[in-house]
């Protein structure tokens, strides 16, 4: 199953469907979930929450606790309405790190003593990844960059995040069109036999790489205007001005929703610890 999906993905790298699909999924993930509860939370609180979820599970070996953490982050991931593709990558990531060991040992009739640690490890990896998915793809990009800046991340990084979200649709479209040029005018090897398939794959990888030659030049043309416009619009002036940072960050407000979110999380985790000690 896994292999099949992989194969299909690779075969259609150049396929309009998959590039288009990819673009759609990335856009959906980036812009499609700005009206969720998670997206409206205070980024500073979410970042603290993330730190907890990403660090603490590594130090704890209690199944109930880990399970509770996992369920919590799974719930927030659902609430953040993360795109399917991101979840797929998540699944692939967990699988490649520990999941496959888990399944293999199940297959060879591993007993509880071998499965248990693996289950724990898988839970830890999964919790950590899901927490990062919730925060980084569930949060509105601008709020995320403001939150990072509040914690003292360099201004350049928060600019990069916002700019990346702005430029991505344009870049994707341009890249797609260049690939389409190759598709319309190129002549890929036939993919009937196994050797043909390998050659076809190699051809596709080559085309993707060659596409960066026109893409580099076209993007260079664009970035000149962008940087001039940034200058006019005071980007460099703001980067060294403390007042600007203050004004920008003054839009951050922790409200009732944030408190609620925090309280529920704490309650849940506390409950889990209690249950685990009672059992």
């Amino acid at each position: 199953m896994e292999g099949k999906t992989k194969k299909r993905l690779s075969e259609s790298i150049l396929d309009k469907f998959s590039i288009d699909f990819l673009r759609n999924q990335v856009l959906k993930n980036a812009y499609g979930n700005d009206d969720t509860v998670i997206a409206r939370l205070d980024p500073r609180i979410l970042l603290v929450w993330y730190l907890f979820m990403a660090i603490v599970p590594w130090f704890v070996d209690d199944l109930w606790f880990l399970l509770a953490c996992f369920i919590l982050v799974a719930a927030t991931t659902v609430m953040a309405r993360v795109a399917g593709l991101v979840l797929f990558i998540f699944a692939l990531g967990v699988f490649s790190q520990t999941g496959y060991l888990f399944i293999v040992s199940l297959f060879f009739g591993g007993n509880a003593s071998t499965i248990f640690p693996l289950l724990m490890l898988t839970l830890k990896v999964a919790t950590c990844s899901l927490a990062s998915i919730t925060v980084f793809s569930g949060l509105d990009p601008d709020r995320l960059s403001n939150g990072l800046q509040w914690y003292g991340c360099p201004e350049r990084l928060s600019f990069s995040i916002s700019y990346a979200y702005r430029i991505l649709p344009m870049l994707m479209e341009e890249f797609q069109n260049i690939l389409l040029s190759y598709r319309l005018r190129g002549n890929p090897p036939s993919r009937e036999t196994l050797r043909g398939k390998i050659r076809y794959l190699a051809y596709q990888v080559k085309v993707v790489m060659l596409s960066f030659y026109p893409l580099m030049l076209n993007t260079a043309k664009r970035s000149r205007t962008t940087v001039e416009a940034l200058e006019i619009r005071g980007y460099r002036y703001a980067a060294v001005n403390k007042a600007v940072k203050k004004i920008r960050l003054s839009s951050l407000r922790a409200g009732a929703n944030d408190m609620m979110f925090l309280a529920v999380s704490v309650f849940w985790i506390c409950g889990a610890v209690l249950v685990s000690t009672l059992i």
Binding site: R166, Y182, L184, P214, L217, N218, A238
Partner: protein
């Protein structure tokens, strides 16, 4: 009061041999609406960048003379101060937008200059530019025209006295173009802003601008009130500027002695009504239309439906059971506003998109099972943006590529022939991207016909070109009528439609709302109004004089309107 005072400005780019601006002196009054015209490469954009301080503060080079903007000497100031005096909107405006959402981008500059009320300023700018209600949208949800308005709002938000726009309507359909100029007019009249546009479309200059400045070889030839400026037909044409068609028509009448020599030339349809008032329309004898009904089918759409996945909510349905027949040998123009489905239709035909249901036949065969690379021998698509067609490092290699990988015999000779035919021989080793607009366009056409396809699809072949280059491309397209049997052009350029097309298909919201020869389309007021087509000015002139008149070119106008 003068808002701009320039004295003896000379500027050259670093490492350039001769100055691009040469001893310029100019005064612009506060509240003016000035059009800057001139040949490509005469320094128009460079001139505008001296006004907001990008030159000399951001772009290096040799700078002499003084530029005073709103009383400030640009040399003694900095870009930040000048930005609040003179706002600038680039020709490639989409690259000047750097934030993901609308309000955020409109207030970005105010925030950067540490204004406490930055959000309110952004909102006000959006209101002034007619983007109210779109505050929380993402940039990619905007149409091209709206994106331009947003770039304008970003400049307006700092409340500068001067607004400079580099070719504001080059990429827009007529509906959006009218809207941009409507907003500019309001900014000028109601808010008292001084507006400077670099503009090729003289009809818009005639309708909106107060003064025209002609630039030639890095200098200012003259600056005159619009009417007077546009009447200098010969001088403008020498610089590849084409005055409004009404003016050209009157100018030619005068030369032929059909008008009194001392009467002023009209520049707008309104003035034309008076100037041509005495003319009478003689309808031409209807040529028996040769029916092409019998010709073989080239492409046919059978019940085609297609939806786009949308980022949020429901999928967007582009076509719903579309049926259309295209016959061999037809020269078709596909028109309709942005987002009507023109590009999508073309992508369906070349197999880049697959319909959700229904069938597309090319030469009687369904393309559902065909590979894109096999289809390309029969049908070829030339993109709107030629830069995306250049995938090699020289146009010669680009033209040869499709033939080379298909092992076409003597592809070298064919490439050579195509280079010759499209007058690209001296440029053949150059990278396509580094050519001028017209050369780029010719090269993309050559790439499109390289495989000798029976059907050629062109997406906006004249977009983004100045009028002179547009004429040149139109000539090339006429030449090409012999090479390719069936041609379809998606375009907003009504002059191209009128002069070139034999059949016009009007798309609106994914439906074919009108289909026929030009008389049928342009004669139908209902269609023109609902779809928002702006016919060529000379056509409107004719209609204004006589309801029955159908003349599409200046030649036809002169022929059919008699004393």
């Amino acid at each position: 009061m003068n808002i701009i005072e320039i004295e003896n400005l000379t500027y050259s780019y670093p490492a350039a041999e001769s100055p691009i601006l040469n001893h310029i002196s100019l005064e612009v009054e506060k509240g003016d609406f000035l059009a800057v015209v001139g040949n490509n490469g005469c320094g128009k954009s460079t001139f505008c960048k001296t006004l907001n301080g990008l030159i000399p503060h951001f772009i290096d080079g040799d700078f002499e003379g003084t530029v005073k903007v709103d009383g400030i000497n640009t040399l003694e100031s900095d870009v930040a101060t000048l930005a609040s005096r003179a706002g600038y909107v680039y020709q490639d405006f989409e690259n000047q937008i750097v934030r993901p959402t609308v309000l955020d981008d409109a207030s970005y500059a105010c925030l950067n200059y540490a204004m406490e009320d930055y959000e309110e300023r952004g909102r006000r700018a959006l209101r002034m530019c007619g983007l109210e209600g779109r505050e929380n949208d993402y940039i990619w949800q905007l149409s091209g025209g709206q994106t331009h308005l947003l770039a304008l709002a970003g400049a307006v938000s700092l409340q500068p006295e001067i607004l400079i726009l580099d070719e504001p309507i080059a990429q827009l359909d007529p509906g959006h173009a009218d809207r941009i100029y409507g907003v500019l007019k309001e900014l000028n009249e109601r808010y008292g802003k001084t507006i400077i546009v670099i503009e090729h479309h003289t009809e818009y200059i005639a309708d909106y601008c107060r003064h025209v400045m002609l630039m030639r070889d890095g200098g200012i030839a003259w600056k005159l009130p619009t009417g007077e400026a546009l009447r200098r037909v010969e001088e403008l044409q020498e610089c590849n500027i084409f005055p409004p068609q009404v003016t050209i028509a009157a100018h030619r009448m005068k030369r032929e002695g059909r008008m009194t020599p001392d009467a002023p030339l009209p520049t707008t349809v309104e003035e034309g009504r008076r100037a041509f008032g005495g003319l009478r329309y003689e309808s031409p004898e209807k040529k028996a239309s040769e029916s092409s009904m019998e010709a073989e089918s080239a492409v046919s759409f059978r019940d085609v439906s297609l939806s786009y996945r949308s980022v949020k909510g429901e999928d967007y349905r582009v076509f719903d059971h579309l049926n259309l027949e295209i016959r061999k040998g037809e020269k078709i123009a596909l028109i309709g506003s942005n987002g009507a489905g023109k590009s999508t239709m073309m992508k369906l035909m070349v197999g880049l998109l697959k319909p959700a249901s229904g069938e597309i036949l090319i030469g009687g065969e369904s393309i559902r099972k065909k590979k894109t690379e096999d289809l390309s021998r029969k049908i070829s698509l030339v993109y709107q943006n030629p830069e995306e067609m250049f995938i090699k490092d020289s146009i010669e290699a680009d033209i040869a590529y499709a033939m080379q990988v298909r092992n076409v015999e003597n592809y070298r000779e064919r490439t050579e022939a195509l280079l010759e035919r499209f007058r690209l021989l001296p440029l053949k080793k150059r990278d396509g991207r580094l050519l001028s607009g017209g050369q780029m366009r010719r090269a993309s056409l050559a790439i499109g016909v390289a495989l000798n396809p029976g059907i050629l699809l062109l997406d906006e072949p004249t977009a983004n070109l100045d009028i002179a280059t547009r004429k040149e491309i139109m000539r090339t397209l006429s030449d090409m009528k012999g090479i390719t049997e069936t041609v379809m052009i998606a375009t907003h350029d009504m002059q191209l439609v009128c002069e070139w097309a034999e059949r016009i298909i009007v798309l609106c919201g994914g439906r074919v709302v009108a289909d026929g020869p030009r008389d049928e389309i342009f004669g139908n007021k209902e269609v023109i109004r609902t779809v928002g087509i702006r016919p060529p000015e000379i056509f409107s002139m004719g209609r204004a004089l006589d309801e029955k008149a159908l003349c599409y070119t200046v030649d036809e106008f002169l022929e059919h309107f008699k004393e």
